[in-house]
Symmetry: C2
Subunit: 347 residues, 2 copies
């Protein structure tokens, strides 16, 4: 119900009402009212008639139904490095066409009091909605249901089921990586999973385990290794792995930093990548993946698409459509030389 | 003159007027009116008397003179990775005490049209001022002198002398690095300077050259090498360097990525760092400097301090003080193991 749930104003007619009366989807109703060509004339007429019957008027400040009221969205993050927040921010802006929307980013640095002040400042600046971005995929406290604008959560889900959250599908990501390794003939696969305190690490392990079982395989050593998200740990645990399981033919790493460490140790131990051992990471952080030797295959979280989806949902929520829950979005595998990919090396 | 230059309102009394009448600096006047202890009683009395004489009233929306009117500052960046913008953003927020100010960040992605729209959106949200942050230290186009709020430029200076810009002192940074290498007994120093298209690269070379001359030394090979800001180039050019000048005892690199490449090649060629060769970089990007082998000495641009200074200036400008020009701010050397520093290694 969005703004109407405050009870301060009469419930206004939304696009959803128009679509329902016309017997079409909200997307079709939106396209029809926007004059897009993908809609048949007959359908358009029905939607226009429904809009007239209900006295539905699109937001006068927006040139299209999907555009925000003031053209400004607040984004709240605690991601100090910007690795996750900035691509999500770009995707959110792009959801409304080039330059049509300004996303205003505030960094709360994981501090609840600072976050509260930023929310106040953004609401005082009359943003149309809020996107809350986390630096990890573990649930975070909800901002509650009493804010005057719609809120969506991206990357880190809200701990309240009444909220809408969009997160990358890390389970599927783990499976994607394994399917690629198995298709390449890899049978002795090790998993250096990263920090078990993170939902992302545990989800990736779950997806890996599932896909290995489907292929009739088991992890080298019988289980994943857990440790810090660092190059140093990647180097150290890879050395241990080569001592205990010298026949390993693939090393899957919980993030790109661990994978960089694995690549270094393999090189120093005289193992050729990808000829002898395949290596892959997660996150596809380009400053790491493209400059490693060889360039690193990695599971990309599609963060710009996640930002676009969150922003689109936000403005459907502004128009009155709302449903809660956590939505997982597809990730993709970016294949580079470390698993035999076709791209050229960095040197 | 700040907002008053629009001519829409009578010029109001500013802190500068009070300070002038009391015969103290603006900083002292501010401290006195804020009740801080560093001011002698006699001075405080004089400032209070001057404020009374001039009927000076601090901004009623702010609890302290140094606080912004609405508590919101717009920050415009084109730094897609956030490496430079985010630390500057944090410094700017901290300039006004924890949580007192919200900095709203917009990313223009280097696109002039998008930048114009973001400026409009921020002004429509009634921010107190704008901080414009670049992703490189080369001059950028001014937003002009006609905006209704003060503007300061950080990291990338404005190309208009009437604007105020704060940039890191890259010349001094180059000199700092050389002085450290020379103090450590290094005599055969090579400079892998990075991309000559960047003012940062050229300024660092200038500082290096100056400090070497002061020490009676010359660069190995007689000049700096220039190339892309990448690990791959760092690896390649270090290999060439070891072929042409095997006696090199220090490699100074234009950024941390180049230095990472240099470290890798030195290791593969059997040169010990720091026993045989010292290595240092620029920028102190921690994801790279602390996880390299050994951890990397680097010149830190003090970006948080740069953000604090820019924000402080912005609010002095709001209070009526303005002067144009480019101000260079001090940088500092962070010494780690790659030049014999005391810190422990990453593994």
């Amino acid at each position: 119900m969005g703004r109407d749930s405050r009870g301060e104003q009469k419930r206004s007619i939304t696009l959803t009402d128009v679509a329902r009366l016309a017997g079409v989807s909200v997307a079709t109703a939106s396209k029809a009212l926007n004059g897009r060509r993908q809609v048949r004339d007959e359908t358009r007429q029905r939607v226009l008639a429904a809009a007239e019957t209900l006295s539905f008027t699109p937001n006068p400040f927006a040139q299209a139904l999907n555009m925000p009221r003031s053209g400004t969205v607040g984004m709240l993050t605690s991601d100090l490095e910007g690795r996750f927040a900035l691509p999500i921010m770009m995707g959110a802006e792009d959801a409304f066409g080039s330059g049509a929307t300004s996303v205003l980013l505030c960094d709360a640095r994981g501090d609840a009091e600072r976050e509260r002040k930023h929310v106040e400042a953004l609401l005082a600046r009359r943003v149309d909605g809020l996107i809350v971005v986390g630096s990890r995929t573990d649930p975070r406290p909800s901002l509650g249901q009493r804010l005057p604008v719609p809120v969506v959560y991206a990357y880190a889900p809200s701990d309240d089921d009444a909220d809408v959250s969009f997160v990358p599908d890390n389970i599927r990501g783990g499976a994607l990586a394994v399917e690629h390794l198995v298709a390449g003939g890899r049978r002795r696969i090790a998993l250096l999973a990263g920090d078990a305190d993170y939902a992302a690490a545990r989800d990736r392990v779950a997806g890996v385990t599932e896909a290995l079982q489907a292929a009739g395989l088991e992890l080298v050593g019988g289980a994943a290794s857990f440790g810090p998200w660092s190059e140093a740990w990647g180097r150290r645990v890879t050395a241990e792995l080569l001592d205990s399981d010298p026949e390993v033919d693939a090393v899957l790493c919980g993030n790109d930093q661990v994978a960089r460490g694995a690549l270094e140790t393999l090189r120093e131990r005289g193992r050729r990548v990808p000829e002898d051992v395949w290596v892959a990471g997660f996150d596809d952080w380009e400053v790491l993946t493209t400059s490693s030797r060889p360039p690193l295959t990695s599971v990309d979280m599609n963060l710009e698409e996640l930002g676009r989806t969150a922003a689109r949902h936000l403005f459907h929520a502004i128009d009155g459509q709302r449903h809660g829950g956590i939505v997982t979005l597809p990730v993709r595998l970016v294949v580079r030389e470390s698993t035999g990919g076709a791209e050229n090396g960095a040197d």
